[in-house]
Symmetry: C2
Subunit: 321 residues, 2 copies
């Protein structure tokens, strides 16, 4: 197992054929965008390649496989994209572990499991790596390949909003627009589309909103009952903890999630430099300065009261009026 340069990966790919390209389990826009883009690049070079989707391809991702009918061949070469460890191969682990030739990834903590690993944590998305790879290989991308790469870039950056976006990210996106990629539609489908279940859970989350300490603390909750009634799955609950922090003037957004009876996972998201991890540590939790969590036990109201009291205390000295 070696760490490889992108140029070495490019040489390897040119000299091999009959590819299975693996995504990580619960595949998202970046692993899928990477896989389908690489598949198109290899096929456009005259090679045979298939994407092995590691789970269900959600409806909004189906366009990625446009004009890519599955080919029938004996796999000789295995490439994984955006897969940070063998564990993330999930159900594919049994078949492919020990057989992965190349891993192309952008995670900081990649645990090598392939013969050659290219890892570039500076890339906001792994699709940036695929784009760079195409350049080294001297390949001009077609419109559909540009769509695949843009999809991964868009999903891993919150539609170019997050702090992982670099000037290079934006320059690559510009090139993809030049190549005719369907940027506005992809942005809308990836970032502005919500499932009915998500809408229902958001509605209930907003109904639970209480504001404290001159609107500097916002508290929302979800219960097992709410999740069940809305039909929300884990994907639908993704990012729910950010809702309370979005409110203008809020320093601390608190989200209390019922995990089981009398057990609550509390997520804190903070603005203006309030240390979320420090507050959560008081309850045996931890995390980052702006995003932390802890688990509390008791009734919903008791848990909220305890957390709000700790937040008020944290704000007291400097901010709270």
């Amino acid at each position: 197992m070696t760490t490889a340069k992108l140029s070495e990966i490019a040489d390897f790919l040119k000299n091999h054929d009959n590819y299975d390209i693996l995504t990580h389990r619960y595949p998202d826009g970046d692993t899928l965008g990477s896989a389908f883009a690489l598949c198109r690049i290899l096929r456009n070079m005259g090679k045979r390649a298939n994407v092995i989707v590691n789970g269900t391809l959600s409806r909004k991702m189906e366009f990625l496989k446009e004009a890519l009918p599955e080919l029938d061949f004996e796999c000789e070469t295995v490439v994984s994209v955006d897969v940070a460890s063998a564990q993330l191969l999930g159900d594919l682990r049994e078949k492919y572990e020990g057989r992965v030739n190349v891993s192309i990834d952008h995670h900081e903590m990649n645990t090598p499991f392939a013969d050659m690993t290219y890892e570039n944590p500076k890339a906001a998305s792994n699709c940036e790596n695929i784009f760079s790879l195409s350049k080294i290989m001297g390949v001009t991308l077609d419109k559909l390949t540009a769509d695949c790469i843009y999809t991964g870039m868009c999903t891993d950056t919150g539609c170019f909003k997050f702090s992982n976006v670099t000037a290079d990210t934006l320059r690559m996106a510009a090139e993809l627009v030049d190549l005719g990629c369907d940027h506005a539609r992809i942005n809308r489908e990836m970032c502005d589309t919500k499932s009915v279940a998500r809408i229902k859970i958001e509605q209930q989350v907003l109904n639970s909103l209480t504001l404290h300490c001159d609107n500097k603390i916002a508290v929302v909750h979800t219960t097992m009952q709410m999740e069940k009634e809305s039909g929300a799955d884990d994907g639908d609950l993704d990012g729910i903890a950010n809702i309370s922090r979005q409110i203008e003037g809020v320093y601390i957004g608190v989200t209390v999630k019922e995990k089981e009876e009398k057990t609550f996972r509390v997520s804190l998201r903070t603005n203006h430099g309030v240390n979320a991890a420090e507050i959560c540590r008081q309850f045996g939790g931890g995390g980052h300065a702006a995003a932390a969590g802890c688990t509390l036990y008791g009734s919903l109201e008791d848990v909220k009261q305890k957390v709000v009291a700790a937040c008020e205390k944290a704000l007291e000295t400097e901010y709270c009026s």
Copy 2:
């Protein structure tokens, strides 16, 4: 009144001094970003310039005037930015109409009111024009000026999501990131922050949601009572009509807004090529293919029923199961 090239505007600005820079009324991120950026550029050239904010500078926009104390001088030159007509000067019209030397704008329908007008509708935001101007003037932007320009670009493109984004837009954004602009914070404050009133009105809008025709039609409403109770102003209601269309699988998002007793403004937003204007024309309204409106009279329930029936009919032939 003449149409000018950007290079002519650059020459004019170099050869004059003592600037009042005007924004449009109800100033948004683009007019303010343009004005404060231009003010910084002119001051950095050793000139005197003030921004005349045309209304209230909202709290989230206050950072734009950082390190720009108001200067005391007799105004000799007037520049307006992102102001498409004299009417949009609002309260400033009386003092400045007939005195505006230069107008820099990106609206398609600019009605000239200045001695020299530069109008570039290809620019997604007017801040793109200011950035291009700075290049022609040979000025290197400092970090705070880059922040101002990025703010306008971000607000007028829905954080780089809309179809008005071009490859040039993204390349300019990349340069601004290179200049150290605070992109992630600006994105968050412009696109991911909601007022308490907005949160309250969204909550009520989601509570009003009904789905029809196998979830292909989503209907929400706002009432005068809801607006009053939430404390929402026009800014808070901005974009409310997009909520119903965001739901996965929805072809037609309908938003019914009570304007006065028994009078409702109906906004349609459509996906997948459904012609919104055609549906609205049946009620004497109109608009674009994907965004149209009409006014209906009667009870809220009657109005909804009529609109849903028209939408169902439109979907019937092709889409509705």
